[in-house]
């Protein structure tokens, strides 16, 4: 009797157009929830974050965050794949013909190419995405180039307004293993657009971890109702209607105190409206707030209101996370009959649902909450129960897991890295060394890190083959976000700086520290190598810091020229492995290191000879080091 092949859970990659985005709470909740349930996840990003802000919850992530190489290098990779006959030229041409040139299939292919090499090597079996956007288009290419299956969660705005081709949306749905939508309304809209895919569309509400939300005790009294609202100050959030409703309720003898959290282009307009209506004492504009401040506010108000509408361009809220958060905080919610909101708020039970832009209806709801004893508390309790039953991550995540569990885990887990090496392509000579040493390093399961975002087209084309399957240091903004999120490590770096010679400038040191912090953070999640290696002086400081952050020994191959190298080398020699391996590259045996006399006048040939010597020296050196 034959046994069924042994299966394991698939290893997942989440591919984002940009990561992290601080407002996309539901995405982070989903990944954190999957990790807590034992899933092995990798995060991939095509573009860096827009700012240095990072949500504190992300410190709990175990997934490594891997960024695509800079745009110029993506073109270099394209050239390399064309040269190797592996660029899907016909697929791109067909794609452009069927879905239109404006969908730019070659760009999506370029975005996918790096991950098409990397993800199979990392044992990734399946890619999941949020939004029907450029990243999902790249996932189509990833499937073509690497046979990597994918699924995605379109939200609404993305597939209803932003996507350039409805036919492309159809293709995304057809090619996906399954499609998740965030509410029944979105499901209906998607099936209207792509009728043939209803069988693979799954409605799974955006789940939220309920634990950090407060237990509010809504108890309006004395003709005063305290309310909160949250969102960007833009048209479709409908704050102008809410402010008008507050004025109407005041005319009926009820004072509504609004804490308005968020910022945006409509701020001045809304502030003027408040002044004109004489509501200065009743509306507080808090601007952008941290999530803790938002929760503190929820704890002290009597109700949450989001008067959302559809704007002239068709933009609107679909399933606002802030409403679920308010429900989890035991608050009654007043909102509007738009998209998935009626699936969140049950009119008359967990709050009130009015027609969009119905200021009179909003005013009536506020008046009832302010004047009917116990109503706000009853509705808040009912809302809390509904949120726990339907929207808590514990309830939503198993639905996603059951879809993912149907996918087979096929690829073997990657072998543990033995060497971690960093090459800064912006540093003189480092790229040439990578070309030579990369071959040797790959023989030793190397975690290869590449820095140097400012490459010329020529350099990108030259170095692309050598960087295949490497991990790229992300844009400075991503390094910055990590730096900001880790105050303890910043303090530790400060102490390390004190041990270096004065000749090391603080600017250089902190640049190196940000790189080291990023590599260390991701490397811990990918699996720490046994040894760190810096091929030139340019990478030496980062590698020395990595040694201190991770406790793994390091080795340098720089000439003993500067005071810094002399200083760092002393420490490298104190470790058992480095002691036996750091020297040979710098002091190879003279009898084998002298170039043949004929080469001395031929600079290029001499250079090749030297690199060749270095390659064989590194091979021998690594063999000994990793045995030690």
């Amino acid at each position: 009797m034959s046994m069924p092949p042994q299966t394991r859970r698939p290893r997942l990659a989440y591919l984002f157009s940009r990561y992290p985005v601080i407002s996309q709470t539901f995405v982070d909740n989903e990944i954190l929830g999957l990790e807590a349930a034992g899933w092995d996840v990798i995060i991939c990003a095509l573009h860096p974050p827009r700012d240095g802000l990072r949500h504190p919850r992300l410190s709990g992530l175990r997934a490594p965050i891997l960024h695509a190489p800079p745009p110029e290098m993506r073109k270099g990779i394209e050239s390399d794949l064309i040269a190797r006959g592996r660029w899907p030229k016909k697929f791109i041409a067909d794609h452009a013909r069927v879905f239109g040139e404006e969908t730019r299939p070659e760009l999506s292919c370029r975005n996918a190419a790096h991950f098409a090499e990397l993800l199979p090597r990392l044992g990734v079996d399946h890619v999941h995405l949020h939004f029907a956007n450029r990243a999902t288009h790249a996932a189509l290419m990833l499937k073509e180039m690497a046979g990597m299956p994918f699924s995605f969660t379109p939200q609404a705005q993305d597939f209803l307004v932003d996507i350039s081709s409805p036919e492309l949306l159809g293709e995304m749905c057809r090619q996906a293993e399954f499609v998740v939508v965030a509410c029944d309304w979105a499901s209906d809209e998607l099936i209207k657009l792509v009728p043939g895919v209803s069988g693979k569309v799954k409605r799974i509400y955006n789940g939220i971890d309920p634990t950090p939300y407060p237990h509010a005790h809504p108890a309006p009294g004395g003709g005063v109702l305290k309310i909160a609202s949250v969102g960007r100050l833009i048209e479709f959030k409908g704050f102008h209607h809410l402010i008008a409703a507050i004025a109407q309720v005041r005319a009926r003898g009820v004072t509504v105190q609004l804490d308005l959290m968020g910022d945006g282009p409509w701020r001045e307009r809304l502030e003027n409206q408040v002044k004109e209506l004489g509501l200065g004492g009743q509306v507080v504009f808090h601007g952008s707030v941290k999530i803790d401040q938002m929760r503190e506010c929820y704890a002290r108000v009597d109700a949450f209101v989001l008067a959302c509408i559809e704007d002239a361009k068709g933009a609107m809220d679909v399933f606002p996370t802030v409403i679920t958060e308010a429900m989890l905080s035991w608050l009654p919610v007043v909102s509007c009959r738009i998209a998935g909101v009626p699936e969140q708020v049950i009119d008359g039970a967990t709050g009130f649902v009015t027609e969009p832009a119905d200021e009179k209806g909003l005013a009536e709801a506020l008046y009832r909450l302010a004047t009917e004893p116990g109503l706000a508390a009853r509705m808040g309790a009912a809302g809390h129960q509904r949120a726990m039953d339907l929207f808590a991550i514990e309830k939503t995540l198993p639905m996603l897991e059951s879809e993912l569990d149907r996918l087979p885990g096929r690829r073997p887990a990657p072998p543990a890295a033995q060497v971690g090496a960093l090459y800064d392509l912006a540093a003189p000579g480092s790229g040439a060394l990578l070309e030579t040493e990369g071959k040797v390093l790959r023989e030793h399961q190397t975690q290869l890190w590449i820095a140097g975002g400012t490459l010329t087209r020529k350099e990108a084309e030259r170095f692309a083959p050598a960087t295949s399957g490497a991990f790229w240091l992300p844009d400075g903004m991503a390094l910055e976000a990590e730096w900001f999120a880790r105050p303890e490590e910043r303090a530790r770096f400060e102490a390390l700086r004190g041990s270096l010679p004065d000749t090391v400038s603080a600017e250089d040191f902190f640049d190196a520290a940000r790189r080291a912090l990023w590599i260390a953070s991701q490397s811990v999640r990918l699996g720490l190598p046994k040894l760190w290696y810096a091929p030139t002086e340019a990478e030496a400081l980062v590698v020395w810091l990595l040694h201190h952050l991770t406790g793994r020994p390091f080795a340098l191959a720089a000439d003993e020229g500067s005071g810094l190298i002399a200083h760092l080398a002393r420490e490298a020699f104190t470790t058992a492995i480095a002691a036996s391996v750091a020297n040979p590259l710098r002091r190879p045996r003279p009898c084998t290191n002298e170039p043949p006399k004929g080469l001395l006048r031929k600079v290029a040939a001499l250079q090749r000879w030297r690199l060749g010597r270095r390659q064989s020296a590194l091979r021998a050196w690594l063999r000994r080091a990793l045995r030690a």
Binding site: P48, R50, D51, G52, P70, P71, G453, T454, T456, P474, D475, G476, M477, A478, L479, E480, F484, R497, S505, A506, E507, D508, F509, F510, D511, R514
Partner: protein, 174 residues
């Protein structure tokens, strides 16, 4: 960047001139420019490493503290980084941004300059960013490095009060 802290410094205010001495040729450039700068009441500010001629040194440790402290400036500069996108490398931009915050904080403490001059592209980027924070014009030198994108060079050229072609004095008095 809509509400700079310092506006319209008086015409007798000094010019600040920034040189990054860790970059090639800057020490020579500073040696050549020093006389003209002194004649124009220039305040010589150096980054990268110390120099005897310098009136101020942009210390990296101090820059880091100021960067962490000035949330609003940081947010403005990060927004600008997003606008510039791939026309400048992120690490390069953020190094210039930290220098800009140092310069802005210095201007806030005492006499603001009437002009901030950058002796090369890296310094010009910092001068431009500092100028945006405090509402002071910049003068730039754009000729030194091919690694800078034409988009960024064009933006600096368009927004600078003056671009140094040859005469420093002419540039500072434009």
């Amino acid at each position: 960047m809509s509400d700079p802290l310092i506006t319209s410094p008086p015409p007798q205010s000094p010019v600040w001139a920034l040189y990054d001495l860790s970059l090639p040729e800057r020490a020579e450039r500073l040696a050549k420019d020093e006389g003209e700068l002194r004649a124009q009441s220039g305040v010589i500010m150096v980054a990268g490493r110390h120099a005897a001629q310098a009136d101020a040194f942009l210390d990296g440790a101090e820059m880091e503290q100021l960067w962490l402290k000035h949330d609003r400036w940081r947010a403005s500069l990060e927004a600008l980084r997003t606008e510039l996108a791939s026309s400048v490398d992120g690490e390069v931009f953020l190094r210039a941004a930290r220098r800009a915050v140092w310069l802005a904080a210095r201007a806030q403490e005492g006499a603001a300059p009437r002009l901030i001059f950058g002796a090369g592209m890296a310094e010009s980027l910092a001068a431009w960013l500092a100028g945006k924070l405090i509402g002071v014009p910049c003068a730039v030198s754009l000729q030194d490095d091919t690694r800078w994108t034409s988009k960024l060079v064009s933006q600096l050229r368009a927004e600078a009060r003056a671009v140094r072609e040859s005469s420093l004095t002419q540039c500072l008095n434009a």
